[in-house]
């Protein structure tokens, strides 16, 4: 329910997600994979009672953001003991250490193909699944991928360009060993390999022959029961790059609202007619990230008073795996002030992890929430739906779904 473009009027009973899956297929172009949230009722990985709490999700989100900040801060952080303890001193091409993403897709690997549920992540490059034989694998949703059962599997030799690009510096019995250490200390090690990747429902026209991926045999951390992870970053080894010759450069996705729909991940760059574009920015020190220029914010239709330089100087990364958008301190303060000023009628609630502007909607039938829009270089505007404005942990704790990066002079 809406009340003009500047406000969201929402029934309080609809604030929390449905407890059951109501699959609504997303519309997309060809070679699209269905996307569901890892912890939503539509997820095949959902473990009843085993999902993390809201506070845990947000704490993990901060681990990922800390990792992105360390990477983009450049070599000056290399002497920081905290940085070293998280493994970010590893060469960048050893894997982009950014933790797991929150959305999953199903992919087919090998010949005959076997289906695997993997998280997808625009903040990292190398794709991997757990493989047999495995020294130390966590419990996953499907049986392990068995290279010996695939007629198209081959190990990547140490001298291959794909191995040299990884800079893993490890070679065993002529096989290339890879390692990715993520920002939350999750880790995968294994052999770099090639096999046929099938995208979509099993048609040979949607196959990538010789897809390079990691065959993990020593994996620990916060991967849940996912069978692996697929990277969509900008490096040559990512799924997006390897699929470019077949589908064209670029890709698109729609992340579903958490419970009642499925989204999609589609390779190739076809865009919906209503899409608004902004420039994709590249930084040589972190070439795997997709940067763009956020230049302003509107609350209830009015531009928040922040100089565009506050956004432009540090820059902005778009990431499918970070949950909460992080803003420069001055921008967040201005957003919070505007938002809170328009929410004065509601009782405040305690902070939730990194979210400090929370409200208690107990006893109310409807709430009226100011809209938030993000403005990008070139005029593209992201008019956020209600779900992008408030993070609703419970009726008594609904929080502005933005956070500060902390001291933006640091």
């Amino acid at each position: 329910e809406s009340s003009g473009p500047d406000w969201h009027v929402v029934s309080v009973t609809s604030l929390l997600p449905d407890a059951v899956c109501k699959p609504k297929r997303a519309v997309s172009n060809s070679s699209a994979l269905s996307v569901v949230h890892r912890h939503a009722p539509c997820s095949p990985l959902q473990a009843r009672g085993g999902e993390p709490s809201h506070a845990e999700i947000l704490d993990r989100d901060q681990d990922r953001v800390d990792s992105i900040h360390r990477l983009t801060a450049g070599p000056s952080t290399a002497d920081d003991p905290a940085s070293a303890s998280k493994g970010v001193s590893l060469p960048a091409r050893r894997g982009v250490p950014l933790g797991t993403a929150n959305y999953i897709v199903s992919v087919g690997l090998g010949t005959p193909k076997r289906d695997f549920l993997v998280v997808f992540d625009t903040g990292s490059d190398l794709s991997w699944v757990q493989c047999k034989p495995c020294d130390d694998c966590y419990q996953q949703h499907d049986p392990l991928f068995d290279p010996s059962q695939s007629t198209t599997y081959s190990a990547v030799p140490c001298g291959a360009p794909e191995c040299r690009r990884l800079d893993s510096g490890s070679c065993s019995s002529g096989k290339c060993r890879y390692e990715v250490v993520y920002g939350d200390m999750s880790q995968t090690d294994g052999n770099l390999a090639r096999d046929t990747l099938t995208l979509g429902p099993s048609s040979s026209s949607d196959q990538l022959q010789g897809f390079v991926f990691g065959c993990g045999d020593d994996d620990t951390g916060l991967f849940g029961k996912a069978d692996g992870l697929f990277g969509l970053g900008r490096d040559k080894v990512s799924l997006a790059s390897q699929a470019a010759a077949k589908y064209g450069t670029g890709f698109s996705y729609c992340l579903p609202s958490s419970s009642s729909a499925e989204g999609y991940l589609s390779l190739g760059s076809a865009a919906p007619p209503n899409a608004q574009f902004t420039a994709m920015v590249t930084r040589s020190d972190t070439p795997s990230f997709y940067y763009l220029n956020l230049v302003g914010i509107k609350v209830a239709g009015r531009t928040v008073r922040v100089s565009p330089a506050v956004f432009r100087t540090p820059g902005t990364v778009i990431d499918s795996g970070t949950v909460i958008t992080r803003l420069p301190s001055r921008a967040y303060s201005a957003l919070r002030s505007s938002f809170a000023g328009l929410m004065r009628r509601y009782k405040r609630a305690p902070a939730l992890s990194i979210l400090d502007t929370c409200y208690d909607f107990t006893g109310r039938a409807k709430v009226r929430i100011p809209s938030v829009a993000l403005l990008f270089d070139g005029g593209a505007t992201l008019n956020l739906g209600f779900g992008g404005v408030l993070y609703v942990a419970k009726k008594s704790q609904a929080c502005l779904a933005f956070a500060s990066n902390g001291d933006d002079t640091s």
Binding site: A26, S252, S269, T278, V317
Partner: protein
């Protein structure tokens, strides 16, 4: 740096047009 997280990307079609070096957002992208 700022980070545009997935809470704010939900339900939009997010387009990574690498050939033309641009990123697009289409409202109601899942429906």
């Amino acid at each position: 740096i700022g980070i545009l997280g997935n809470m704010q990307q939900k339900t939009f079609a997010v387009v990574y047009d690498v050939a033309n070096q641009k990123i697009g957002f289409g409202a109601k992208g899942c429906s």
